[in-house]
């Protein structure tokens, strides 16, 4: 009974969806205020989701119907499962185990993989290009992002998120691994497909990218999945680099502070072309994070 409550109501399930919608609102509102305009009202993501759920779902003729209906569900399920292993709201992770860092990162990738597959499913040329770009971007930022999250794991000496956050509580990794922090933040923006890394969903270039053919329920589930991914990603980076999360107030302060940085970069920079994105990541991103790991290894050996 208690398991059911944890999984469905709090802190998994409905409350993670609600947190995702709240963070999406905060992101849009802050972006609007930085651009000198009013921005959406507080219930906007909720109204968007309900409206999408009430819309007619149009299935194109040449898709695999099981994939078409199932991919959004799998994407949202992956994102929500990842939320079980991170310290949401300052509470210890609900079902931690050794190696759950890798599992969490894999589950967050699952969302992007499902979007790429959904785009490749149809015959629409825009979806196909969107799918190609999504998967190319996944391929490019994933290695540096994983290595940036590996830095704290190395110093803590464990693959379990619970242990890493316990270590981060004593040592402020923002100060000892600053390069890793920068790569982690920018990697998060790549994962969430926020500008300047939003080439996969470039509205003026490829209509809507991988999600062009989706409407109604499928789009609502992808939309919710992206919101949950935002929360989980921010929690991970905040828990590792900003000192662990002690209580709900601390959680909101640290994750919203990170969101401030993310939105600031979002408002500032324009969209990068897909080959510029890949070039940036494989040249500077990977190099920087390898330098960080090298510094740590040399320091460990010398000490």
């Amino acid at each position: 009974m208690q398991t059911l409550l944890v999984l469905v109501i709090f802190p998994g399930g409905l409350s993670v969806l609600a947190l995702g919608m709240a963070y999406e609102w905060f992101d849009r509102k802050l972006l609007a205020r930085l651009q000198n305009r009013l921005g959406p009202r507080w219930f906007q993501p909720l109204a968007d989701t309900i409206k999408l759920l009430a819309k007619e779902e149009v299935m194109p003729e040449s898709v695999n119907p099981y994939l078409f209906v199932g991919l959004p569900v799998v994407a949202l399920a992956g994102a929500m499962t990842a939320a079980l292993y991170v310290p949401l709201l300052g509470l210890p992770p609900a079902y931690g185990f050794v190696g759950d860092l890798i599992v969490t990162i894999y589950l967050l990738c699952l969302l992007t993989l499902c979007m790429g597959l959904a785009g490749a499913n149809t015959l629409d040329r825009f979806s196909l290009i969107g799918a190609t770009r999504t998967l190319t971007q996944l391929f490019s930022y994933e290695a540096p992002f994983l290595l940036a999250l590996l830095g704290p794991a190395l110093v803590a000496g464990s693959w379990q998120i619970g242990d890493i956050t316990a270590y981060a509580e004593q040592h402020l990794l923002l100060v000892t691994q600053p390069i890793g922090f920068v790569v982690a933040i920018i990697g998060l923006m790549g994962k969430l497909e926020l500008p300047p890394f939003d080439a996969p969903t470039a509205k003026t270039e490829i209509v809507a990218g991988a999600m062009t053919e989706y409407s109604g329920r499928g789009l609502a589930l992808f939309h919710l999945g992206k919101g949950v991914e935002l929360v989980v990603g921010l929690t991970l980076v905040a828990a590792f680099y900003l000192g662990s999360i002690a209580n709900p107030l601390d959680f909101f302060a640290k994750t919203l502070g990170l969101l401030l940085i993310v939105v600031g970069v979002q408002a500032l920079l324009t969209r990068l072309r897909i080959e510029q994105t890949v070039g940036l990541w494989w040249r500077y991103g990977a190099l920087l994070v390898l330098v960080q790991l090298l510094v740590h290894i040399v320091w460990e050996v010398a000490a």
Binding site: A32, L38, G39, Q44, V58, T212, G216, L219
Partner: protein, 165 residues
């Protein structure tokens, strides 16, 4: 008596759906041969000064994501099939807003050979916004009237003979 609880639930569900549709109209814009004056005014409505996003209106790229189709221009011969195709690709419930005097009746081109004469010769239109081009506030007024009409589904009888002095 057995119907009562069912219709109450339906009423709540319908109320929720209507509320969500009024507060989150996602739009797509199409130019069917206009001079771009109305398009510029529509884009001006999305800028920070008039900011349509505070009503929940976001400009989408794909017709499949949109509820409202904002059309400008008299429908030229080449644009006619494309306009019908985009309209048919939008999922229900969908609404069409015709902006500018060319979109309403063809405007100055109303008797040209290559023009269909207004959007409603091609697809059904829900709101008309006259002007050449209409002010951004007039566009917001038209969108607000369309969203207000969603609350009261009963149509008002058209007054064929209205006098103003």
């Amino acid at each position: 008596m057995a119907h009562q609880p069912e219709s109450f639930l339906h009423k709540i569900a319908d109320g929720l759906k209507t509320w969500a549709r009024i507060n989150s109209p996602w739009a797509i814009h199409f130019n069917s041969g206009s001079c771009n004056g109305c398009d510029i005014e529509i884009l001006a409505t999305l800028t920070p000064r008039y900011d349509l996003e505070r009503f929940g209106l976001k400009l989408q790229g794909s017709p499949r994501h949109a509820d409202v189709l904002i059309v400008t221009g008299p429908v030229t011969r080449q644009a006619r099939d494309r306009l019908v195709r985009i309209y048919e690709q939008m999922p229900e419930p969908k609404f069409v807003v015709a902006v500018g005097s060319c979109a309403l009746s063809g405007g100055v081109f109303h008797d040209c050979y290559n023009v269909a004469g207004g959007i409603d010769a091609v697809i059904p239109v829900n709101a008309y916004i006259p002007g050449c081009p209409p002010r951004p506030e007039a566009i917001i007024d038209g969108v607000a009237k369309l969203l207000g009409s969603l609350k009261a589904p009963a149509p008002t009888p058209a007054a064929a003979n209205e006098q103003r002095d």
